[in-house]
């Protein structure tokens, strides 16, 4: 048990080290963008004001309000201090909305869309891959090229195809948004129905493209395991097929678990494309808007969330993997 604790202490140390570096980068990188965020706000707020003295005063007022006149290091310490209190300041582009408010709104949409989509895609892909490996013959011959094709379709491609087919041509589903733009969010049947309708296309576009890759991975892992020596040995000892199939798929699943955890961790990053195409009100769309408006606080906070999710996912894989695979555990103890 001591080796185990030492292993995780070490992992935890790396976890925080990575987090600190990522935290600094999240602050620095957006500010390296060649753009003037204030000019962006000005173009919106100072429209119609012709007096140059007034616009100048407004400009300076914004610069002061956001603390952009202070040296970078002071800005950074302020950012760190506030971040530790869980306050990420005010958004530039959606001034005077709080960053926390924007992100907490967006992240629910993203998690609600991505988490089920990734899990469903992962499950379907693995089941299909396992069946292809087990049945072989025609099923495999059909599934393999299809999976290869699907895994090569880029996310935006699939999103646009679905959009064009089901929303524009067949008009079954709405084109964009998280819910009907004429509705006010309430707990009414009409609103829930609208959410579900808007949900379908982005959801399936993510599911379909993730099925292909997962099925290919699971199929080859399963074929590898089906030919393993222990399968032959178990058969020759009369062990039931039902049991052997269980050994095989359990072992074949192990690398797939890593894939699941990683894709859950990176879901916000991956969300960008599907959300953008469907104008889904999630974190992806928010990040895209923040980038175009050079909205430093919003961008820093959003990327920090992605960083934390990836790190947590990695850390979780380490723990879970040690629990489900004795071979990994053995190396962790060393």
């Amino acid at each position: 048990m001591k080796g185990y604790r030492k292993y995780f202490a070490k992992k935890l140390l790396w976890f925080f080290l990575t987090l600190i570096i990522a935290f600094v980068l999240n602050f620095v990188l957006p500010r390296l963008m060649p753009a003037d965020p204030i000019a962006n706000i000005m173009s919106r707020t100072a429209r119609g004001i012709n007096e140059s003295a007034a616009t100048r005063a407004m400009y300076e007022n914004y610069v002061k309000a956001f603390g952009l006149d202070k040296p970078a290091i002071v800005q950074f310490t302020t950012y760190v201090r506030n971040a530790f209190r869980g306050d990420f300041g005010q958004s530039f582009s959606q001034y005077p909305r709080k960053v926390n408010d924007i992100i907490s709104n967006a992240i629910l949409w993203t998690i609600g869309l991505q988490m089920p989509a990734i899990i469903v895609g992962w499950l379907l892909g693995n089941i299909l891959g396992a069946l292809a490996a087990y049945i072989r013959k025609g099923f495999d011959k059909l599934l393999m090229p299809l999976s290869l094709f699907l895994s090569c379709v880029p996310a935006f491609g699939m999103a646009v195809i679905l959009l064009g087919l089901f929303a524009v041509k067949l008009k079954i589903f709405p084109v964009a948004g998280g819910y009907g733009f004429d509705l006010i969010p309430t707990f009414s049947w009409k609103f829930i129905k609208s959410i579900l309708l808007h949900y379908q296309l982005p959801f399936w576009s993510i599911v379909i493209i993730s099925i292909g890759g997962q099925a290919i991975g699971m199929r080859s892992m399963s074929i590898y395991e089906l030919n393993a020596d222990y399968v032959k040995y178990s058969r020759y000892l009369g062990v039931k097929d039902r049991k052997i199939v269980r050994y095989v798929f359990r072992n074949a699943m192990l690398p797939q678990v890593t894939g699941l955890a990683l894709s859950l961790g990176t879901m916000v990053g991956g969300a960008l494309v599907a959300e953008t195409v469907f104008s889904y009100p999630g974190l992806g769309t928010t990040i895209l808007k923040a980038v175009t408006a050079s909205d430093y606080p919003l961008l820093s906070a959003a990327t920090l969330i992605i960083t934390i999710m990836v790190l947590v996912a990695n850390f979780a894989i380490d723990i879970i993997y040690g629990l489900i695979d004795p071979r990994v555990k053995a190396t962790q103890f060393e």
Binding site: A228, D229, Y230, K232, Y233, S234, R235, Y236, L237, G238, V239, K240, K243, Y247, R250, N251, L254, I324, D325, P326, R327, A330
Partner: protein, 337 residues
Amino acid sequence: MGKTILEVKDLTTKYITRFREDVYAVDHVSLSLEEGKSLGIAGESGCGKSTLALSLMGYYFPPLHYVSGEIIIDGKNISKMDPDTIRKNILGKEIAYIPQAAMNALNPTQRIISFIEDVIHAHYPEMSRKEIYESARKRFEELNLSPAVLEKYPVELSGGMKQRTVIAISTILSPKVLIADEPSSALDVTSQKMVIRMLKNLMEKGYIKSMIFITHELPLLYNVTDDIMVMYAGQIVEKSTAKDMIFDPIHPYSKGLMGSIIVPEAGARNTKLTAIPGTPPNLKKPPAGCRFAERCKYAFNECKANAVGLKDFDEGRSYRCLIDSARLREVYKNEQQ
């Protein structure tokens, strides 16, 4: 004469390759094994030893297929049984197998005891986990294996330990015939000795009634088995007692095999080692005549023309060669001088 435990008559099995070619890796093999006896099978790699081991169990799955012949275990003819019955009633229970690569023979993510449970449950579904654990613990102790192994995962065991664990698992249901396919070939000498001692121990305690031991290490066979059978290109080329095979091989191939090793006996220092030139024939298109003719230095025209049958000579010995056994002995004797 003891009771016959295993009787194999004219067993032929084949591999069907990916390109739908037939490869007869076991070609009309007959053998019999008495209670308390062990039989060694020797030969180069690729001559059908391991395939024979698998074929003897009467349970076939692709690419291995049954062609003809009979396998009778303790009076039961299993070659006519359906595969499911064989799997439930014969495998592990009547005839058991120790695979060549014991290193990978165990499921890496399963504790040893859990696998033993699966093995026993396949044949005795009514046994409780507690009973299984108790009997496994007792058996492990009797075989000088620590019962702590039961709780371990395969990765936590050393190579030698894994091999002995596999042997203990294979014999947990006290099968009548044990087929050990190169059980010691990947081990160091100490582990090898422990494995051999364990197999002998199993025999003495009566947990197995007979054993077939497959190896390319001939000196080992001399120490372990009563009889030795030499295989070449899917056929038996010579059968005799271990002692006769080592000191008086008749078939040119056996002679060649024995000449390429040193048997740890008095006078071993003076023996010269020789090698057999060439490689075994491709079994997709086996030669029409004697399969060894191509590499045999005594071969003459007729050897390559007609197939050669197995002939008896001396007492209880047989070989597959056109040349008379007495003549061969004479030739070997002259060569030595």
